[in-house]
């Protein structure tokens, strides 16, 4: 199933500047794998070698936080990729 992915500003260099892209999948893992196929290197900016969400990244399905790659999107069709920002 297609989901809308809202891309955090620091990750938009991978999506050609797009703030919003679509991805296919039911789980976080599937969605990120689909993103990685189309935007190489993007997944590693969010997920570490152990398969954990990096500590400066948060993922939300709608307003529900997703804490692991196994979590399903369920009824929520918008995946938000949130990244710590440093600018002031």
């Amino acid at each position: 199933m297609n989901c809308t992915v809202r891309v955090a500003s620091p990750l938009r260099s991978y999506t050609g500047g797009a703030a919003s892209v679509t991805a296919r999948g039911e789980t976080v893992a599937e969605l990120l794998a689909d993103l990685e196929r189309r935007f190489p290197g993007m997944r590693f900016r969010m997920i570490d070698e152990q398969g954990d969400i990096r500590p400066h990244i948060r993922l939300y399905a709608g307003t529900r936080e997703l804490r692991s790659l196994a979590e399903r999107m369920g009824e929520d069709r918008v995946l938000h990729l949130i990244c710590a920002l440093s600018g002031g």
């Binding site: 938009r12 948060r58 440093s86 002031g88």
Partner: protein
């Protein structure tokens, strides 16, 4: 406490509000607020907090005013160029409201001085442009029991949250660690000039509400703002029982300097997409500027497959490597995904290398776009 006639007139629009009134205005006058960073966020926050009558307003900043600051740092004027930011901001704020006391701290906030400075204030507004300072400020606020209004910006996007001791999560609960993040600064990624105006005004609003004890704060709520879409969003987050600083068994009990491990220090480096790097390499072979490729992955990763001509220099070695500032040509750092190479740019820059470059997306992106035969470990 009494207000002078001038103060009554100055604050008359506040006094009309039942939520502020005379009692609230007295709270504002008695309040001591510290702004960390007189930059894009600190400028509007400081102007509004001074205008509304915060009795003691502190400004911490060790930079000097540069021409490129004036596009968004509205507390400064052209005549302030080259002046210490804290001093120039203090002068402007005193001109705006002579009824308040402005304290300037023209120094770099560090673990060794943060306690003494924060101890003079009731709440902290964080507008710093470094992740390392952001964590120092958060940790110090948690340890010292000070409320914190935090915000950050990048290009067209901003974030804000508020920490109140004992009432909700801290910044580390939101983002436990950014030591592996490759988060570009404004000087590198650019920023819409008006963006920090929106976020800085939100910070001032939160600070005023905190002092007044009014309204609903951004406690446990990350507010995000996208200026291009003109859309605010809100994401809830909770205190982490295992938070390193506010958790049940905190590991950080004294403020720490993270500058050595947070690598996003403002540094100008060039991001090369695979096709751009490929074009540079081809140009170099035809007599164009030299390109030096440095693979910063671990030796085993390098041995499994690397770009032709790339030297191996693991990231850990970089701190021990000095660079000739007169080196000719382009030095491009490479790694698996682009995270370590971005960090390498920051480290090499600190050690003398001018304008380093890195391969965005790393060798994974290179393999996808240029050479599918490259084995990337």
């Amino acid at each position: 406490m009494t207000f002078s006639d001038a103060e009554l007139e100055r604050y008359s629009r506040h006094l009309l509000l039942a939520e502020v009134g005379r009692a609230g205005q007295e709270k504002l006058r008695a309040a001591r607020v510290l702004i960390v960073g007189a930059g894009g966020l600190g400028s509007p926050a400081a102007l509004y907090l001074a205008a509304c009558g915060i009795g003691t307003l502190g400004i911490v900043d060790f930079d000097q005013v540069e021409l490129s600051n004036l596009q968004r740092q509205v507390v400064f004027s052209t005549e302030d160029l080259a002046r210490p930011k804290a001093v120039a901001a203090g002068r402007r704020l005193s001109t705006l409201n002579s009824e308040i006391t402005v304290v300037t701290h023209a120094l770099e906030l560090r673990a060794e001085n943060v306690g003494a400075i924060f101890g003079q204030y009731d709440l902290v507004v964080d507008g710093t442009d470094r992740l390392s300072t952001r964590y120092l400020v958060n940790d110090a606020c948690v340890i010292l029991g000070k409320p914190l209004v935090s915000a950050a910006i990048h290009r067209f996007e901003g974030q804000a949250m508020t920490y109140v001791p004992g009432r909700g999560p801290c910044y580390r609960c939101l983002f436990p660690d950014a030591t592996t993040a490759a988060v570009p600064s404004c000087s590198e990624a650019g920023v819409l000039g008006v963006l920090p105006g929106v976020l800085g005004a939100i910070q001032a609003t939160e600070a005023i509400k905190l002092i007044l004890g009014q309204g609903e704060l951004l406690v446990g709520r990350l507010l995000t703002y996208d200026a291009l879409e003109m859309r605010f969003r809100e994401f809830s987050f909770e205190r982490r029982a295992n938070c390193a600083v506010c958790g049940d068994e905190p590991r950080i009990t004294l403020p720490l300097d993270l500058a050595a491990t947070c690598h996003e220090e403002p540094v100008a480096f060039r991001r090369l997409r695979p096709r751009e790097l490929n074009a540079l390499l081809q140009d170099s072979q035809l007599g164009g500027p030299a390109v030096r490729l440095i693979d910063v992955r671990e030796p085993a990763e390098y041995a499994a497959g690397h770009l032709a001509g790339a030297e191996s220099l693991p990231l850990a070695e970089l701190e021990r490597t000095e660079w000739e500032s007169t080196a000719i040509g382009e030095t491009v750092f490479l790694c698996r995904s682009g995270a370590r190479s971005a960090r390498a740019c920051a480290i090499a820059s600190r050690h003398g290398l001018r304008k380093p470059s890195h391969l965005e997306g790393g060798l994974i992106a290179w393999a996808a776009a240029i050479d599918p035969m490259l084995h990337v470990a």
